[in-house]
Amino acid sequence: MVTDPVIVVENLTKYFGKKCVVDHVSFAVPRGSVTAFLGRNGSGKSTTLRILLGLLEPTLGRSEVLGHDSQNLPPALRGQIGYLPESHPVIGWMTVDATEKFQSAFYPAWNREVFQATIDHFGLDRSAKAGALSRGQRAGLALACVLAPEPELLILDDPALGLDPVARRALLETILYITRSPGRTVLLSSHLLDDIERIADYLLILDRSVLRAACPVEVFRERIAQFQVVFDHAPPELPPIPGLLDSLRVNNALRITVANPPADLEQTLAALNPIEILRQPVNFQDAVTAYMSDHRNRGFFLERPASPHAPRSAAGGAA
């Protein structure tokens, strides 16, 4: 249970025509957290964020942002929410300088130093036209416009989308700067799990429109367990294991990834008469990937030998 939430979402559902894009999603984002909003393409992340900002109307359910119904956010409250859409929109004909002038006219608390620091960080020339900037620079300009009002809540929709590594690093550094500010909440949707692991302390995972995880990152890590089960013969068929995310056979070993591992899992595995059962640390990226993966029909791509000379073997079947 999240105390002092900045965002509260209850039973949020959105249909586009017949297609359900967000399916009865409920979560809360803790104040001061950096919350990563993960999910595969088309899982409904951007739609959820747009509903939170009142740009889109839910088909069902409700959401609150900073204590207000997100469908009726007071204008002044919108000033406390910074939003960076995934395409990093800027007004193309404006120069960087003109962009600042235009944006700052709406924000009495516009922090010029933050704007300047951000555009410096991305190497932007004030006289350059926004439309002529590279993708990474445009992202920097858009981010500067979002940061300069010093919002209480930052909603970043896949800010690293399409950025080269340098621009991505600059973006990440800027986000790290943001997180220094106490009380500021960041809701960040991204596919870059390395970056997320560094900065996020809370996690939301949408899988095919359904919320499948809403927890601190540490909890998520704890709940995902990986076992290496070694046999002296070809591994047998696995019995049904609740929460099994992935199982991979490498020669005579099985690597099993399980969410919310049941208490009797080791006993279940021991019943298969393995030589050895090792509980391995699982890295964040593997855990998230396994959690979001669709396990159907990937046998061909997982069929890999343990060594270049080892015979090819069939992949371990999922439960």
């Binding site: 559902t13 249909y15 995934e86 500010s181």
Partner: protein, 703 residues
Amino acid sequence: MMMMTERAPARPHTTEGSGRDRESGAAPPLSRAALRRGMSALVKKELRENWAYPLMCWLVWAAIAILYTWTAGEQGINILGSVLIQIPTALTASAMGLWIGIGSTIRQRDPDQWALFIHRPVSRSHLFLGRILGGTLLYTLALGLPFALLLVLAATPAGGPFFEWHMTLPTLADFLTGFLCYLVGFLIGDRSAFILGSRVLPVFLAIALLYADFLLPRFSWYLALAALAAALLLLANWGSTLSRGYRLQRATPLPARWSLRILLTLAFLPLVALASLPFWIILNGHPFNTIGPRAPDHTTTGYGLTPDGALVKRTLTSSNGHLTVTTTDLDGHSIAPPASQTLMQSWSLAPRFSWPTNYRELDRQITTYSVADPSNQPRELWYFVHPAGLAYGYDAKTHAFLGTLGQSGFSPPGSARPTPFQHTEVDSYPFTYPNGIFQVDFDRRTVTTLWQPPSGERLLQIISAPEFLAHSTSRGLQYRFAWQLLITNKSLGIRNTETGALQATLALQDPLTPNTRLDELPDDHGWAIEDTGPGYTVSHPPPFTVESRFPETFARYDAAGRLLWSRHLAVVTTSAGAAPSHDPRLRRLQWDQFQRGLLTSLTLPAAGLDPTVRHILLTSSPNPYFPSLLTPWLNTGLLLGALLCALLTLPLTALYRTPWKPAWILAALLLGPAIPLTLLATHSFPPPRPRPAPNPTPTTILT
């Protein structure tokens, strides 16, 4: 990772006074000054973003100016009265308005661009206001500047010798039309809807507004329409900005929602009208439809004038489908049939309905008279302004003001203006007003009163019966008005133009007996006059049937050549009534004249068909056939059509959850396809469907 953390910029200090109470989470609303600053920035952005539109507009107007100068315009008429200026003014204003409206809003069709624009600490209403202000300024810059230059030019001698402020009204109306078109364009560009559906529908509104700009005769009428349209469009646009998002279905304010519905319905009306046309035809018949029962019994009275100036009374009585024409003198005594054939003039005492003169028809408001010098070059130009009842004279070369002519005579510059002619003009030649007939000599600058009605009477109508004397190619048509028929509110008189005396008078009991339909003149070809046995029949095959199954009969004569009844018939009269009135050659000639639009008079050359012909006039009496009523087949068709429309409406009302369902069904029964089409136009299509159940939730990690 550490490197990146180290490189992150240090947290800078917030600008003074800009801190917020983060603890409480309260966000103070923007101060008035901050809001003004934001709005100002928004307006500037709109102007800067769309600067190309005014530029394009100015280029178009430069081209128009060059074209006008190249064609040298129209001599003697103010530049504002020129068709070369009026039509481009209206067309460019509406096209540019539409273009600016669409172009300035369509840029934000991308959802993220829209989010960038809309997600700021200003209400959507304020953002809408800023955009509209910016767009209005842009439009004013684009169109207002050339229009202002045009008006300034028109007000100077370079624009024409004569200028009055009301001449600017058409230009102002065009400017308003353009602004309305801008709002229409805004709605098209801004509104979230299918581009090939209801989103593009308001284009028809722009076309309708352009029509109204030209059609409405009074500027005040157009002003009222423009105010109403602007209010509806602004409300609809406001609602569009409030509700727009990624297909946002947010409830818009009720006035905005209803404005949009009204506008879409109005824009949809042309289609509805087209769909309802068959119903309308079935219900009301059409002018060429003669099937159905005859008219009920009726009697119509008209008056006629014989060549010797005597008045006769004609009464047409229809009883049981038979028409009887009786011609009597004014005392009710019967007159021998030949007298009715020699009618020189026939008229009906019906009120003349005429659409008021359009305020933009400057040539109808202002008649230009030219006084030529001996070399036949214009020496003086006199502008008779009908609404003012005064004529203003100018030197044709120097454009110097010469003076004013009114009912009381000439008044030179600097002196008091003469008494004007009365506002309501009865006829322009001769100068005829309710208080008399006047002769104005612009060359001598004199005004002579020819006739004045008795005290307490007003002249309502003057009909001049011309007698053609000769035809000369060099001098034009020569004729004289032998008689003038003067109709006042109390009497009817025949005035001899030679002596100026009234020859006969008739007290009118009911001067407004409606028995004429002069507005339905035929303008197509295919007329025929057939000898149908005992009488003549003038008929016209309807254009829709090859077999001519339902010929429209316009006139019928008895065997003796007497007119039994007629409809839009040109009556040929002769000088003395001696020549046959219905000579087939003359009739053919007469119909030729119909086809050429020469409706009321015909001059025959010396070698003409009949040198005794004096005049051909148009007369009319009611068609004994009424438009068709319903036949059993049509009845059945109508009933089935109405039921079909009701059946179509029923599921639509259920799908759209429309209130007052019985009323919609009843309306569909009465108005046909207009109702289901209106429902489709004003609701989203396809209708919303029930949502399926949510997906089952798999393994989750929720805390």
